[in-house]
Amino acid sequence: MDLGFLLLQLLTGLAYASTLFLLSVGLSLIFGAMGIVNFAHGSFYMLGAYLLYAFTRGQAEAFWQGLLWVMAAGLVIGTLVERVLIRPIYRRPEEYQILLTYAILLLLEDLVRFLFGAGYRSFPFPPAFSSPLLLLGTAFPSYYVFLLGLAAAFAFLLWAFLHRTRLGTWVRAATQDREMLEALGINVPLLYTAIFGLGIAMAAIGGAALLPLQAATPGMAVDAVINAFIVVVIGGLGSVWGALLGAVLIGLLQAFGILLFPEMAMAFPFALMVLVLLLRPWGLLGRPPAVRT
C-alpha cells in the first residue's frame, strides 16, 4: 500500500473526525460544566442546518453571512432554552433532564417537519470551496480542508477560553465545585446560561457547517445525538479534549478499518466503545466519579 494513499486515507479520516468533533464538543462542554445530559443536542445541530438553509434561502453565495446568523441564533436560542426550560430542573433527579431534553428533541423534530417538510434539503458548497484540491494526483474536496480548519479553530478557541480567560476559569471551576464558586460571589446561574448558550451555538454552527457535505432532514437529530454520545463516551463525557480524542479515534478507525477489514469496519467504533466502557467507564480522558461523603 503506497504512502500517498495512506496519507489520503488519513486525511479523510481526520475530515470525518472534524465533523464528529463539531457535533459532540458542545455536548461534552455542557455536561462537564453543568452536569446536564442534553439529549436535545442533536436537535440544535439539526436546527443549525435548517437555519442556514432558511437564512440563505439555499443560496451558496450567502453561506458566510448565514453562518454568522446561525451562530447568533444558536446563542439566543440556547440562552432562552436554558432560562425557560433547563433552569427549573437543576435540583431535580437526573431522569427529569433526560425526559425534558428528549421532549425538546421530539418537539423540534416536528417543528422542522412542519416548517420545511419531511424530505431532504441539500445545500451547495460555498463558491470558495466548490472545486477540489489536487492532492498526490487525487481530487480532495476542499470543503473538508475548511472543516478541518474550523474544527481546529473550535478546539483552539475553546482551549484559549477555558485556560486563558477568567470566565473560562470559572467554567472549569464549576465542573469541580459549584458551591465553592457561589461562595466566592460568582453568579453561577448566569454562568450556566452562558455555557448552555455557547454549547448550543457550537452545535448549531456544527450543523450549519456540515450541511454542504450532508443533507438536512427532520430525523437527523436522533442519528446525530447517538453519534455524539459514542464520541463522548469513548473520550470521556464532560471532557472537551476527550471529545477531540474520541472523534479522531473513530475517524481513523473508519478510514483504516475499511482497508483492513472492509466487511466489518462499521463494528470498530462500537467495539472501541465497549472496550472503553469495560476498562475505563468514565472515558479515556474523563474523570472517575468522585466518591461522595
Binding site: G13, A118, R121, P132, L213, Q214, A215, T217, D223, A265
Partner: protein
Amino acid sequence: MKGWRWLLAMAVGLGLGFTQGQQPIKIGALFILSGNFAGYGKSGSQGAQLAVDEINARGGVLGRPLQLIVVDDQGNPEVGVREARRLILQEKVDFLFGIDSSSVALAVAPLTDEYKIPLVVTHAATPALTEQCRPYVFRTSNNARMDAWAAAALAATLPVKRWANIGPDYEFGRVSWQDFIARLKQLRPDVEVVSEQWPRFGSTDYASFITALMRARPEGVFSTLWAGDMVIFARQAKAFGFFNQVKYFVNPVGAALEVLVPLGKEAPENLLVSARYWFLYPNTERNKAFVDAYRKRFGEYPSYNAQEAYAGMHMLAAAIAKARSTQAEAVRKAFEADGGLVYDAPEGRKRMRPEDHQVFEGLVWGYTKHTQDYPFAILDRLRIVPASDTVYPTQCKR
C-alpha cells in the same frame, strides 16, 4: 327546534355521503410518517389516498365506499405490529396495506394468518416476504431481487468487467449485491469483483469509502444506497471526482424523486438508475392523467412509492370486486385466478404470479441528465427491462 332540524339535515347528509348507509370497506395503511424516511411514507399515503378517492367517486367497490386509515409505523417492527394489531382489533379494518420497511413487513406478515386479514404490500422489497408463501400476503410492487436482476441484465450489456459495490450494511444492501453479482456472473462469466464497501445505513460521511473504492479502480459500481444516504453519497463522491473515474454507476433505487429532488442541479449526470416507476414513462394518456391528477392534488410529481401505492390500491379494489367479497379466502382466490390478477397501472401492466403473490412488471432505467424543464435531474436514454428478465424461480406452490 332549530337545532333538531340541523341535526336531521346532517344525519341525512351523512347517510348520502356513505352511499345509502353502506358500511365502508376499511383499509388500514402502515407507512413511515416520522424520522428520516417520512418522505417515502408521505408519498405512499398520498398515492393510496388518490386511488381511494377515485374509487369512491365512481361508487366504491361492491357498492361500498373505501375508507383509508393511515398510521405511522416509524419503520420499526414493534411499532408496526402494535399498530397493525390495533387496526385489526379496534378499527376493525378489512385489509392491511402499504409498509415501507422490509423488517416491518416481515413482522406484520404473520398477523395475516392469525386474523385472516389480507395484507397488500406496496413498497417493502425483501424477496423473503413473498418467498414465505403466506396465503394472505400480496406484493403489488417489484422486489429487490427483481431490481437486482434487472440491473444485472443491463450491466451484462456494458463494456466493462471490473465491478465494485457500495451499499448500506443491512439485509437489503447485502442481498441485493449477492443477487446482482450472482446473476451478472451467470450472464457474463468474465466479470470480476474488485471492492465491496459497506457503510452503515444512515451514514453521513462517505469520504474514506469513496477513496477506498476509487483506489480499487472499478469500471462499474453497483449501489443500493437510497434515501438520504444516496443524496449525501452522491454529493460527496462528486466532490472527489468519483463519477469521472467510474464509467458506470448503477443504482436500482437511485431515480427515486426522494433522492433526485433534494439533489437538484447538483445530481451527477450519466448515473444508470431506476426506481420502480418514473413519472415521465410511459408516454401514455393513462400515465399523464395520473401525473396530472397527483400534481393537482398534492403539488408535486408522483414518486415511485406514490405510484406503487396508487396502483396497489386499485389492484386490491379490483380483487375485491372480482371476489364479490372482502373475505380473505375469496380475495386470495381473486388475486390468484386466471393466471394471476392483471392491472394496467400508470407505469404499465402488472401481473401477479399466483404461486408467490409477487407482481411482475417491466422496469424503466435511464441515465441521469439535467434539462431546462425540471429543477432536478431526469432520466435520459431510457432502457426498458422487460418483466421476463426479472422472473426468478419461486419455491411457493398453490
